[in-house]
Symmetry: C2
Subunit: 551 residues, 2 copies
Amino acid sequence: MKITLSQLSFHTGNFEGNSSKMIAAIEQAKSVGSDLIVFAELATCGYPARDFLEFSDFISQAENSIQQIANHCLGIAAIIGSPRTNPVKAGKDLYNSAYFLSNGKIEEIVDKTLLPNYDIFDEYRYFEPNRQFKTISYLGYTIALTICEDLWNLHDNPMYVTTPMDELMQFNPDFVINIAASPFSTAQISERRNILGGNASRYHLPIFYVNHIGAQTHLIFDGGSCVTNAEGSIIDELDFFVESTKTYDISKKTDKGISIETNKPNPISIRNKYEDIENALVLGIRQYFQKLGFKKAILGLSGGIDSALVSYLAAKALGKENIWAIMLPSNFSSEHSISDSLALAKNLEIGYDIMPIENTFQSFMGTLDKHFGGTTFGLAEENLQSRTRGVLLMGLANKFGHILLNTSNKSELAVGYGTLYGDMCGGLSVIGDLYKTEIYELCRYINRNEEIIPEAILTKEPSAELRPDQKDSDSLPPYEVLDSILFNYIEERMGPTQIIGNGHSKELVQRILKMVNMNEWKRWQAPPVLRISKKAFGPGRRVPISGKYLS
Amino acid sequence: MKITLSQLSFHTGNFEGNSSKMIAAIEQAKSVGSDLIVFAELATCGYPARDFLEFSDFISQAENSIQQIANHCLGIAAIIGSPRTNPVKAGKDLYNSAYFLSNGKIEEIVDKTLLPNYDIFDEYRYFEPNRQFKTISYLGYTIALTICEDLWNLHDNPMYVTTPMDELMQFNPDFVINIAASPFSTAQISERRNILGGNASRYHLPIFYVNHIGAQTHLIFDGGSCVTNAEGSIIDELDFFVESTKTYDISKKTDKGISIETNKPNPISIRNKYEDIENALVLGIRQYFQKLGFKKAILGLSGGIDSALVSYLAAKALGKENIWAIMLPSNFSSEHSISDSLALAKNLEIGYDIMPIENTFQSFMGTLDKHFGGTTFGLAEENLQSRTRGVLLMGLANKFGHILLNTSNKSELAVGYGTLYGDMCGGLSVIGDLYKTEIYELCRYINRNEEIIPEAILTKEPSAELRPDQKDSDSLPPYEVLDSILFNYIEERMGPTQIIGNGHSKELVQRILKMVNMNEWKRWQAPPVLRISKKAFGPGRRVPISGKYLS
């Protein structure tokens, strides 16, 4: 039997586009004599469809897609993830299902048992969990068909009381298929491999795994579809961050189990954290623009490392001709803020303009003079400069139909070291899930062969340049210290006692955690952040604004 | 036996404050000879504590609060909602529990069975559902102790397959206690009464019900704690929107059941939709400021109905002396935009200033002239004016430590008829869950006895005044039509076919739904919206930005 894994990029709610893509893949698989093609979880409607799933009109369209695709399943079978109306009244309205299409119709349906409902996942908001187990019989093989999280409890995941594969083993399956929507994070690739290998070796069964690739606003899917043998080794892997399709020849061994063959097997790849992050962010930018129908990005260049990195990533994602960098110096801007920005624009070959903000800033100050007169220059005046820049950038974006890219980093978003409606403006936060120390690492990685981001930008001391001789270190501890505390608190959810126990001063820890919690109101209004860690700001982290915890 | 219902306002994460409040209530109840005092769901930590629940440090503090409160439970018992660590490894880390405290210690714990996980509720994100049922025995009575949603399945709620009261009936309880965190919406009071009455009559048992009052950022709790008899009638009700405590005397009837007596029973109140909305929004503003430690609000007055209404509500919530209204006319502003605003400020007795934006707007236009020169005046220029106002208002808010109140309404938030970082600025959206037609209704209600909001503001045609002679009706259908389509789509989740079937033109419905879905990116960055409907923008409505559904 020939099995084709089809790792595709889908567009949430674009039923026609997603179906056409799958139908084309089915026709292509037929042409190479494949017997079964496998697509990802919720492939018809895209993942995550979020509250669109609550519209019966939306579900009807997904069900129509399945019927339409089934018409093409003659001489080949297909496995496709799609939402399904729960036929009984009790329980949630939907199942998260895997359809087995063959002979031009729906032959079998398997529903998802373990529904992730943590971090960015809300599946129990929409879906009823499966409670009845069955396998698929096809061409003499018994297939254990599972959906993503169904494999994520090897009796060691405290979130679940069921282990679906234990149930499926009573049917003596020959192999496992898992269709997934497993978003990228820097830790996810190795965790996913461990889970797949762990299941394969525990149950002594090969696994065929198909994931999404592509980006849906804040979530990035890296693909990494693969095949394991019954010993738990990954014997072939599809490429990461691109669409990819591959066909495998399987046959029953004379003794027991199945053998799997493919052309040019791709051994398990060694991952580089910063290469993966770069690819993820580039994909995230590119698909955000494509899916919204935009072509060009605009951004403010400060001469600092954050806007430099975003410029590089955007140019890679959209083409250098589609990036418009604006330098917006004030009277507090250093000379190098412009010269370093110009060097960057030259290296990246991107277009730029210089628009000083001093006149407008002074105009604001004039209007406010009745109330600001006699007060000390402070945060309000700093914010005014940042917001003047935001208005200019948004004006250009609106006038010419571009998207403004946000350049905030995770460290500053965490402690509120940024101006809401100022440098926090933008349609997409590109590096909002990277701590400042990670931004340096990523830039060093980008510069590994040649100086793409000017060295001066990497070595100068970080500054917001909103008052004379200002430095980030005036109000924040060194970034290595800050990021370590933030990582403990945000990613590892440690309380103050534990973090102090890691060797930080009590006063500093309390001050930093208080800054994080008191700035929740700013993050509520932040743009969507491309998620690359296991705990990004945004829908995966839901924290009260008016709470009084550590604040 | 004497039972005291204690309807209090809690502050999320403020363990010390919440505990002190409950301890004071316990001491007060002791002084009137009460045997049992009942507090609301998750009273120790506040509701919703959201992802704070994922911090073991936070849970420890809740557990400490319970111990501390238990020390005061001598000669009286208390029922208190609090999170509890799941003692077994399998399943989610926590239970949503009701503690029964007596004799200075924890005597019993009951866990919540039905976990709401829809709209603004995310309980399955944190809590494992209860699967074992038991009652509480106290002073000769058998109490069926339930937590909020546990009563919300009378065999007719498709979300759940369990009906906790069916299970509890095997123990022959004498009455039911339900501790709740049931947020206000215009439909909720009658739904809640129906559910309580339905349970009481179905099981022939009286119910003692305790809800939260207060506001947690976007959510408002109206209280409405009450007692039903065994026939399903509400025999006494605590006041809405205020803290309230009341004690009942119960005794066993000679035949069967219990009799309930109280001083001055408060019969079931007749609710007025707009009175409730006004009270809810006033409470929402007041507690947002209190809980964040702010006192004064600033807002922009346009001469329109939205900012007029917000000014009135804010003055009522914070005191007229704490409101600073700013009029920010441009060259496109009508004369009445100022005169009507002045009349309003006079009626409300609030402070005001006038700050024309023309100079700063022209300064922006000058800076942008290289690129804007020769183009047609359009949306970009309209947004520039709105953003100039946003910068001035935020500048004043930052300088003087005030909170800027947002004045967007639900109709314009829905179709994107507003400027991100302009009139969409603010720390809290006060009327973002009110359609424009509801805003007129609410203002008419406010003016029922005297002209508080000047009549001219209520009768003029709505306009953003961002270009000459602009009217909302230039780009939008009449608000009665628009709001009806929006209500069908947002609250009732109808698809286009259904809405067209309600008598709207296909072209109009498609255009409006497309506007709603294409403006998701703006709402992502909107301030928290005080929720008064069953489907508000914000955490209760989770929609993809880069999706392609009806867009």
